[in-house]
Symmetry: C2
Subunit: 187 residues, 2 copies
DNA sequence: TGTACCATGTAAAAAGTTACATGATTGA
DNA sequence: TCAATCATGTAACTTTTTACATGGTACA
């Protein structure tokens, strides 16, 4: 049981999913490919943490809908209070900062514009998700309970938006510095 | 040549370092252990991207001070304009959000307090680094040129502070929600 | 006395990515 | 027609982590 395994279990505690759905859902928090997910699910099934039912589909491949077992829920509850590992980040763009001074002005600007675009796109997606979640919330009547499965989605979405905002602001701040001629020895 | 190799090269373009120093310097942007750094340096030395001089030390182990070669600088300049890979993050705490509703109120609060503490500590460190960098800057007379090696450090530090600020605000926001009795079915 | 820092390296294991494999549908 | 989405799996490879190895100094 590694961290990713617990992550999948956490998603299954919210609702039953296929491996494919889990792969899509876990992306914002933990990047993993299907080739990593499927073997983990098989392994957790063998150890009784999850179970599945095969569902035949018309005009689509069959799927396995996984759900968490009692044993799986216990495992999750044991993992939750553990001290969380420090976040790991690997960001190629940030490595480039160390040798930015070797690049010409046009390249530097393009690098930041590309990153700006990336986070602007993500911001749009997040805002749409938030609107959707808030819509569903109004429909249900309840104002969002801390002890409900959707609370996690909500705080994660808030954080994703705050993060994208920060990244966008940072890019614009640097872009501003590049233009405002703090250094004009460009190209 | 993988991304980490270019990162080490980028640091060496700023100033000559030992493997140990590179390992410490690269942490904020790309977590890597010494066991990964040393073999890469040896490999880059064999392919002529870096070179080193052995320096004997009194009362400390000998060290190898690496510096970038012309070939290494060319390689860096070829890498810089490439489209940067999307940042990768893996954050155990965020995975826990999906099953927060399975935890009792005290555990939930402790989880966020631990994270708050982590980023508060980092914030202190970053602020100290910024003060140091601004002090050195005043000493040199120049206001910080975009085309100088310290510009990278500066924008990275600004970003690190913005990021820590965001993490702290998020934790406090969630902690506020937990207290203000949006849900009081605790413990 | 135990931990942390400096300093380098190798070996083994775990985690993650890319590629191979299959196959139908839908939209650009 | 090409790419994307749904859907599952394995094999090969790369990257990263953990553990093994050594050894002195300095600070609680």
């Amino acid at each position: 049981m590694n961290t990713l395994s617990y992550g999948l279990l956490a998603l299954l505690a919210q609702e039953s999913c296929t491996g494919y759905e889990l792969m899509l859902k876990i992306q914002p928090v933990w990047q993993a490919k299907h080739s990593q997910i499927y073997p983990i699910l098989a392994k957790m099934e063998r150890s009784g943490l999850v179970q599945f039912v095969s569902v035949a589909q018309k005009e689509k491949p069959d799927k396995k809908v996984y759900s968490i077992t009692e044993k799986g829920t216990s495992a999750l509850q044991a993992w939750l209070p553990d001290l969380s590992a420090e976040p790991v980040k690997r960001d190629e763009m940030l490595l480039k900062m160390y040798c930015l001074w070797l690049a010409d002005a046009a390249t530097t600007e393009r690098l930041f514009r590309e990153r700006l675009k990336l986070y602007a796109k993500r911001m749009e997606k997040f805002r749409a998700s938030l609107a959707e979640l808030e819509g569903a919330e109004q429909g249900s009547g309840k104002p969002l309970g801390v002890r409900t499965p959707s609370f996690g989605k909500y705080v994660l979405l808030k954080r994703a938006i705050d993060h994208a905002r920060m990244e966008i602001d940072w890019c614009e701040w640097v872009l501003g510095m590049l233009k405002s001629g703090i250094d004009s020895s460009g190209a």
